[in-house]
Subunit: 470 residues, 2 copies
């Protein structure tokens, strides 16, 4: 180990190879502070060539590598296990925006760039980079791509996968694949790009990417709509897609109980609806023409939805401040949940058409098995992505309830599976769900994945134990 660390120091400079416990602590604990791993060092190369050189040393000394960006992941994908054999390879020094090409609508960024900085650089070039999620102030684009991040704009712009045209990757052997293409069409072989995207650092290390930019919308409009049921939210979605098409950029579902929690813990955010409703939809339109046109589009949509009895009540934001306030309510659901106590969380996706049935059936199954639980359902309905979270019954203690996590996961995930859904919509697998997917994926699919992993990383040094168990 000493020889390995000396070689690392020699390669990138001693100040970038840390074995200091205090300094390394933030790199070893996961974002939700549930797990702390250990590492033989935290290594911070400063360029793609240095990343490659470190990985070649890891090959030589058989040292596992845990690539890490902002370390904001939710499935223990970017922290090492507790063996202490691995290094954490932090990409944070690769933080340059290399080029912006407004005519090609692309930007070439290094993987350690923070998402928010990329959004701002795009704005500076009068363009939009639409990827947007809660942790955007600290997550990095490399992590976003490695976990195929979702967020709130997927309905219109797709996941991180759809926002990337090209990659630069350091392979498990320490070679550099120069795939930084800025092309909309390129049919010259296997889709290596999409293989690395979403692979959670188990097949190589993304060091840079060409990402897609879009024209900035001229106007954005937000409304909060009250509905009777999730099925009505689906009817509203179909209507909004038909009438607004690509102008529909946000469609978030929030159950009445979500709103109750937000009002309870953040009373200043109480909504001005006269009565409580079963479901709410936060709807966003982005318009390329004008404020006026955006208003007309939104008003026509809501008018139709009210007339058809799909929507019961509506709050339309009339200023940017009001619009932000509505989004703030949405963003405070997880915080209100946390204030209420610990939750058992599920990040699932379903075919959009069965979401109403899934919610009522799963609610029934969970309540039957665990009477009194409080179910907190919200999510990106336009993408079929629900955060289906469960809080302890009022009569139970938080901790005794959390002991039931495995049994509750079983009910929820089995239900997801029976509706042809996914048990990880946008958060990934990491170390947290790698056993859970074995229950739902066929042996054939698992073997295909293992075959690819073994072929590309025969020494199993790239983020071992994440996504698939060797």
């Amino acid at each position: 180990m000493t020889a390995f660390l000396d070689a690392c120091r020699h390669t990138i400079g001693a100040q970038y190879v840390s074995i200091d416990a205090e300094q390394n602590a933030p790199y070893l604990i996961d974002a939700r502070r549930r797990f702390t791993g250990t590492a033989c060092a935290v290594v911070k190369p400063g360029s793609t060539e240095e990343v490659a050189a470190i990985v070649r040393l890891c090959n030589q000394f058989k040292v596992p590598v845990v690539p890490q960006g902002g370390n904001t992941g939710l499935v223990l994908g970017s922290v090492p296990d507790d063996s202490g054999t691995a290094i954490v390879l932090s990409l944070t020094r690769l933080n340059q925006i290399r080029t912006i090409d407004p005519v090609n609508n692309t930007m070439t960024v290094e993987s350690g760039c923070i998402l928010h900085n990329i959004q701002q650089a795009a704005e500076g070039a009068d363009r939009l980079f639409p990827l947007s999620l809660g942790s955007e102030g600290s997550c990095t684009i490399g992590g976003n791509l490695s976990s195929n991040a979702g967020g709130t704009a997927v309905l219109r712009y797709g996941n991180a996968r759809e926002l990337c045209l090209g990659l630069e990757v350091v392979t498990p052997q320490g070679d550099i694949w120069h795939g930084l293409r800025g092309l909309r069409k390129d049919n010259t072989g296997y889709d290596l790009r999409d293989l690395y995207i979403g692979a959670e650092g188990t097949l190589g290390i993304i060091t840079a990417a060409v990402i897609k930019l879009f024209p900035q919308p001229k106007a954005t409009r937000t409304a909060l709509l009250a509905l009777r049921s999730a099925d009505d939210a689906l009817r509203l979605l179909t209507l909004a897609q038909k009438k607004c098409n690509a102008a529909l950029t946000g469609f978030e579902l929030m159950s009445g109980f979500c709103m109750t929690l937000v009002s309870r813990h953040f009373p200043q955010m109480r909504l001005s609806f006269k009565e409580a409703h079963a479901q709410y939809v936060l709807l966003e339109l982005s318009d390329s023409e004008s404020d006026e046109h955006a208003n007309t589009l939104l008003e026509n949509l809501i008018c139709d939805a009210l007339q058809q009895g799909i929507v019961q009540d509506a709050i339309i934001a009339t200023s940017i401040a009001q619009s932000k306030a509505l989004w703030t309510v949405r963003e405070h659901i997880p915080l209100a949940q946390a204030a209420e106590g610990k939750n058992i969380k599920h990040d699932v996706s379903l075919p959009i058409s069965v979401i109403g049935d899934f919610i009522s059936e799963t609610d029934r199954l969970v309540r039957e098995a665990f009477p009194g639980v409080r179910i907190v359902t919200f999510g990106h309905l336009g993408d079929g992505n629900l955060h289906y979270n469960i809080a302890h019954p009022e009569h139970d203690t938080e901790d005794s309830f959390l002991m039931q996590q495995a049994a509750i996961n079983r009910i929820v995930h089995d239900s997801v599976h029976s509706f042809d859904g996914s048990i990880s919509a946008e958060h990934g697998i990491g170390a947290l769900k790698r056993e859970e997917i074995l229950r739902y994926k066929s042996e054939i699919e698992m073997n295909l994945m293992r075959t690819i992993k073994h072929a590309l990383d025969p020494l199993n040094i790239m983020n071992p134990g994440k996504l698939i168990q060797d």
Copy 2:
């Protein structure tokens, strides 16, 4: 071989295993009639299970498999070589549309479904399946996905890759991967779907797919605009994206010489521009609101473009018939080219921002080496995809010119490479370009591709010799 063919007959019925030369001929010749291969049989399974059973027999008897849909490919990807050892496995009997889910905006189709039939089924459910290309009357969705087809709607809706959510695939071992997911978000492992898409049947056989549907536009508007240069076309593209955003669904560039050829060979299509122009753009808007709104959008755009001096003249289609007529001109370019004589064709893509420079620089290089050649440039400018074709000089004979193909390819493809472009934008590699890509892809990229191929198809029985040489 007899034992193998008997086993095939026993498995799927003797009438679906043909060794009849006349009957097999259309399966053995490529779409452009440049090459005829041989096969030990043409085999037509009737279900996914039968496809799997045939592939297991191919494993047992070490018989190569050439999967084939509509056999409309342009790079010799779907015809066998001349060894006579392979079977052609035709997917044409797997032609059922299994389900349509209008709320989820998905359709599950078998791979032998003809693209045009899928478009019509979507229309029947008041939805749009936007993939559209010249051969849509006979190409199949399995072939579209295996070659990641492009076409005329990529600018707005993406390539075939972006239009697919899930796949069912028979692996080279004859297992069935049931990946028919209809989910917008699913982060549960490696992206197998995108690995099979664009793999040209070398990693497995796509037997069914879940494809994305979209709301049908309410109005479509087409205009033909005359411009001074390709650079002005780029300025127009940026303006149109800014003003119309996702409503911009078509942006085709055609050089003045393309128009000359169409007028010469199809005089009834002569355009009513007062004078000849250097470049033309066929522009299409699709609107989700109304005819009126579409008109306003288009008129405002053209008005701005005229005022800014980007556009010199414009023809706006005022009826569906006129709109079709403009598209017909575009579609007749390849026919006019063929009527003029044989061409050396290139299907290339570039970063959109360098297209003007690429055209002038490549024109210069080609004309310097081959004085008098006529260059026919047209393509999907919005995707950076050019069909850069070269016709013989008037003073030369067609055939002596065609002898120069290798030298001309070298100039064009080297130029593409120097501008960071791709030598196959939408047609793929097949057997035609498998040596050519070796010149432009790094050894690291080729090795990654070979590693994946060897791992997933160790016997090399899936479409051997296509895309990569073993």
